[in-house]
Amino acid sequence: MSRYFTQDHEWIDVDGDSATVGITDYAQSQLGDITFVELPAAGTAVKKGDAPCVVDSVKAASDVYSPASGTVTEENAALADEPELVNSDAEGAGWLFRLTLSDAGELDGLMDRAAYDEYVAGL
């Protein structure tokens, strides 16, 4: 399984044509206390760059862009009662949604961990 990162601070874990999407620890630290997460229902078709998900913090609502195209298979139901999981474990238990990828080639332009860390260090 490989994890890739976007310049908009999403991560995507890829295992064959299945993928899991979340926001990075850096992103959650910038957003602050997360109070609500709006998630796409299973069956939703998403395109790379769509914003199927919105993360609400005390400060503001922020779009989360899908790093790849596909069909949503599952949303992280735990976030309905515990949106703060995105703060405490953004790159683990605070994952947002899973999808079946329609075009694995879309992942080519994404960063690996080392490249992302370097990108964040430069911000």
């Binding site: 602050g32 206390d33 109070t35 609500f36 709006e38 919105v54 609400d56 913090s57 005390v58 400060k59 503001a60 609502a61 949106p83």
Partner: protein, 374 residues
């Protein structure tokens, strides 16, 4: 030919406590033309700390003005809908600057000092306020901008015990009741302290010389009850307390009547008028307004924010001017201007957030009860 252009960019200004905030880990943002801390450890934690202990806010961006001179009382009454005959010395009172159409230019605090009146106005509007006041006050009346002052606010249920420990004065600090003020010393520094604030909690606003601000802030923050609090929590606290924010809940589009702040137009002035904007205010008072500012409590956890439209069925009946998640209540709250027919407490409405309708009810404000020391 191009050298002039670079000079007109407006620079973000630095407040007296800038370095102090940065040293304490404040995340600085531009606000009202200044660099100010939006948060330190996090908005939620700072909000809860203020509600349970005591938070120190730097509000030095606000304008502190002193108005004095012959005829100052009548001159101020011509500008503000305030009744100065009933304003006893040293207690701040809420008032408003209105334009000639009764629209709200700013909200402010007015305190009678021995030789004149001390005004505290909003930071983002202070330059316009000064121009408006100068234009409308006679030449005999002096208007001084106290730019050498900083302003702090210490708010929360433990504010009084923390501040009393570092304060000396002719009277004990505990003698100050809500909306009273007096001259004290904090760590030897002259401080004008009033028991007032913008969180709904007991607390104090503290005017001190700018060059002593870091010393005073450090001394207050050294008390175990106190942590510094940023603008983020200031906004969520004032929203829970039902207190309007100028530029959002108040603007020239609204009068004190539809803003439901009629208490800022003192009783005698409602019958006599005689202040800028009185015609509109008295007419609104007599005839009513199409909408008024109300509180909304939303179900669920998704917040609605400024600009979101309010619906009764298919009919648009209002718009949000503030909104956010209430850390104390665990659900979102908002302020909105809503058609009078849908303003009664408990009225079920919906708020449109990106095409999704969130159920809401008109709710009395404050959303979280005030805990002033009366």
């Amino acid at each position: 030919m191009s050298e002039v252009e670079d000079d007109i960019a407006i620079e973000t200004l630095i407040l007296p406590l800038d370095q102090w905030h940065r040293a304490r880990g404040g995340r600085m943002v531009e606000f009202a033309g200044y660099w100010m801390p939006v948060q330190y450890e996090g908005i939620m934690a700072e909000h809860e700390w203020t509600r349970s202990s005591a938070g120190l806010f730097d509000v030095s961006h606000m304008g502190q003005l002193f108005v004095s001179g012959e005829g100052v009382e009548a001159a101020l009454e011509a500008v503000l809908p305030i009744d100065l005959a009933t304003l006893k010395p040293f207690g701040p009172r809420y008032s408003m600057l209105l334009d000639e159409y009764g629209g709200i230019l700013d909200d402010l605090m007015v305190t009678r000092w021995n030789s004149g009146f001390y005004l505290v106005v909003n930071g983002a509007t202070k330059w316009d306020d000064i121009a408006h006041l100068r234009e409308n006050l006679p030449d005999e009346v002096n208007l001084m901008h106290m730019e050498d002052n900083a302003l702090l606010a210490l708010q929360g249920p433990k504010a009084a015990e923390a501040l009393a420990r570092v304060t000396e004065g002719e009277w004990p600090l505990a003698d100050l009741k809500f909306m009273k003020g007096g001259q004290f010393k904090i760590g030897g520094v002259d401080a004008w302290i009033s028991r007032s604030g913008y969180t709904g909690e007991d607390g104090f606003e503290i005017a001190i010389p700018a060059e002593e601000a870091a010393k005073v802030a450090e001394l207050i923050c050294a008390q175990p009850e106190v942590k510094p609090i940023g603008l983020g929590a200031r906004d969520s606290l004032r929203l829970e307390a039902g207190l309007p924010l100028y530029g959002h809940d108040l603007s020239p589009d609204h009068s004190p009547v539809d803003a439901d702040l009629l208490f800022a137009v003192n009783k005698r002035r409602r019958s006599e008028g005689g202040f800028i904007g009185a015609e509109r205010v008295l007419r609104d008072l007599a005839q009513g307004t199409p909408q008024k500012r109300v509180g909304l409590a939303l179900e669920g956890r998704q917040a609605a924010r400024e600009g979101a439209e309010v619906y009764a069925g298919d009919q648009k009946v209002g718009v949000l001017t503030s909104g956010g998640f209430s850390p104390t209540l665990g659900h979102p709250v908002a302020m909105a201007y809503v058609d009078q027919a849908h303003c009664a407490d408990g009225t079920a409405l919906e708020v449109d957030v990106r095409g999704k309708r969130l159920p809401a009810r008109v709710a009395p404000m404050p959303f979280v009860p005030h805990r002033y020391y009366r």
